[in-house]
Amino acid sequence: MDQKFTFSSTLKLRLAGLIGLGLIVTIYGFISNPDKTWANLLLNNFYFLSLALGAMFFVALQYVTESGWATMFKRLPEAMSFYIIIAGAIAILLFFGMPSLYEWAEPGVTDHDALIAHKSPYLNVPFFMIRLVVVFAIWLLLMVIMRRYSLKEDAEASLALFNKTKRISMAFIFLFVVTFSIAAIDWIMTIDAHWYSTIFGLRAIISALYYAIAVMILLAFFLRGKFGIFQEMNVAHRHDFSRYIFRLSIAWGYLWFVQYLIIWYANIPEATTYFVTRVNPPWSPLFYLEFILNWTIPFLVTMSDDFGRKKVVLISMSILLLIGFYIMLYLQIMPGTIGEMHFGLIDVGMFVGFAGIFLYFFFTFFSKAAIMPVNHPYLKESMTKEL
């Protein structure tokens, strides 16, 4: 029961290879095309930060709703959330790339741009950095507390720890909604400083949970197939995973459409330019692909629960979703920063590098605790779950 996962040296070496590749590409990128490299750094960091925070959000949801089905997988999201440490470091590094990423951060832009001058009490570099540090401090603090309670629970069985974690989870959900809205608006939305969408933060929150589930599914099947853990995973767990994808696909599609419909209907030039850029070439294929990959296909495929809970369906949907997430962020970041579509070596290489870091952190911290949270009150319910 309390066996641990061993992070084998071959796996370590492979992931280190990915990280090395990413590092080389990043250095090459900074020499040949710094603007694009900064944009990619932001994109990939936000991509994996979303997954980490979404995983933490998932754990908190299980505690607050006192649901037991996912307790067996609890160490997965827990280990995923450790990427926040790296994300914080890279986000602070972004300070040096701000003039190339954000129009409002260019020195002297307030002199000739009235709108940005109007927004400057909020959108200025010192306050931006303060917000950045504060949100990361909150996430790191909550992550450390939740992990500590979780490890403590392994040593001593007590219901008090469960209740404490539940209270922390409530605080986390509240703080996550506020802080992640701030983060998404600050780092992504202000790239197009003249445009704003009030639903932007909510979209980022739903996306974080949506894609974190996809990563959890892939990791669970990978660990089961390669290392033989999570043998207790049965049709009931697959069913719940597929329901998560189905329902979050509805939420995602709803929010996407709400954002689009209001802007389309009101037809204010300031707001529509954002979409006019994206529905016209070269971005238009990605614009439609984003919606198809993130809503249409998952919604139609997982609608039938008998079909949606098949292993191959779950895995292929998760992979599609991760591609969809990349396209979503690519469309949010790239038109405003580099302005032209050149998907190439830098984009692929940096994504691979970041994926390597994410997985390296995941496996490191996954191997540090017992695979099952042995003393969790809902563990038995989770392991013997029937449909």
Binding site: F257, Y260, L261, W264, Y265, N267, M303
Partner: protein
């Protein structure tokens, strides 16, 4: 003359599920179980998985097509009038209407399909095997074949009470 059914009345669903397993392993056909609430276990073990979701999907697909055609006919073909400078065929604005109409028509359609399949029309008098099945009791109904022997009937009755049936009787 119709042979009377064997009726077992149970207190909780776990006992019903166990009784179903035992009876099924002895190849005894259970006609139905009346329960105060929907239970997936009972439905699954009886082999009576509902096909109503497929009916709902059909109703929903019909609703999408019907609503789209109706709006298209009104605002593009029959009465093309320009609102706020939008084109006549302005699909994004229709999505909301189609979405809400899909919910409404799916619901109505599902109810109609359900009533047609179960032959439960409005004003139909309830056929209750036991009045408590509307409150807190589970009623299991086993239809007798014409050639069933008295010994087998006694056997079934014994099995039901072994599994915790609080009452076993014969009834039409």
């Amino acid at each position: 003359m119709k042979t009377p059914n064997i009726i077992g009345i149970f207190d909780n669903d776990d006992q019903v599920v166990e009784a179903i397993h035992t009876l099924k392993s002895k190849n005894i056909k259970i006609a139905d179980v009346h329960a105060p609430f929907a239970s997936h276990h009972i439905l699954k073990d009886l082999g009576k998985e509902s096909r109503i979701p497929y009916g709902s999907v059909l109703a929903g697909a019909f609703a999408i097509v019907a609503t789209f055609s109706f709006i298209y006919w009104t605002s593009v073909i029959n009465y093309p009038i320009v609102f706020g400078g939008k084109p006549n065929f302005s699909f994004p604005a229709w999505v909301v209407v189609i979405y809400l109409m899909t919910i409404l028509l799916t619901f109505i359609g599902t109810v109609i399909i359900f009533q047609m399949r179960t032959k439960m029309n409005f004003g139909k008098k309830a056929e209750l095997m036991h009045i408590d099945s509307t409150e807190d009791k589970f009623v299991m109904i086993i239809e007798q074949d014409a050639d069933i022997t008295e010994k087998e009937v006694q056997n079934i009755k014994k099995m039901l009470s072994d599994h915790g049936a609080i009452e076993v009787r014969m009834d039409n």
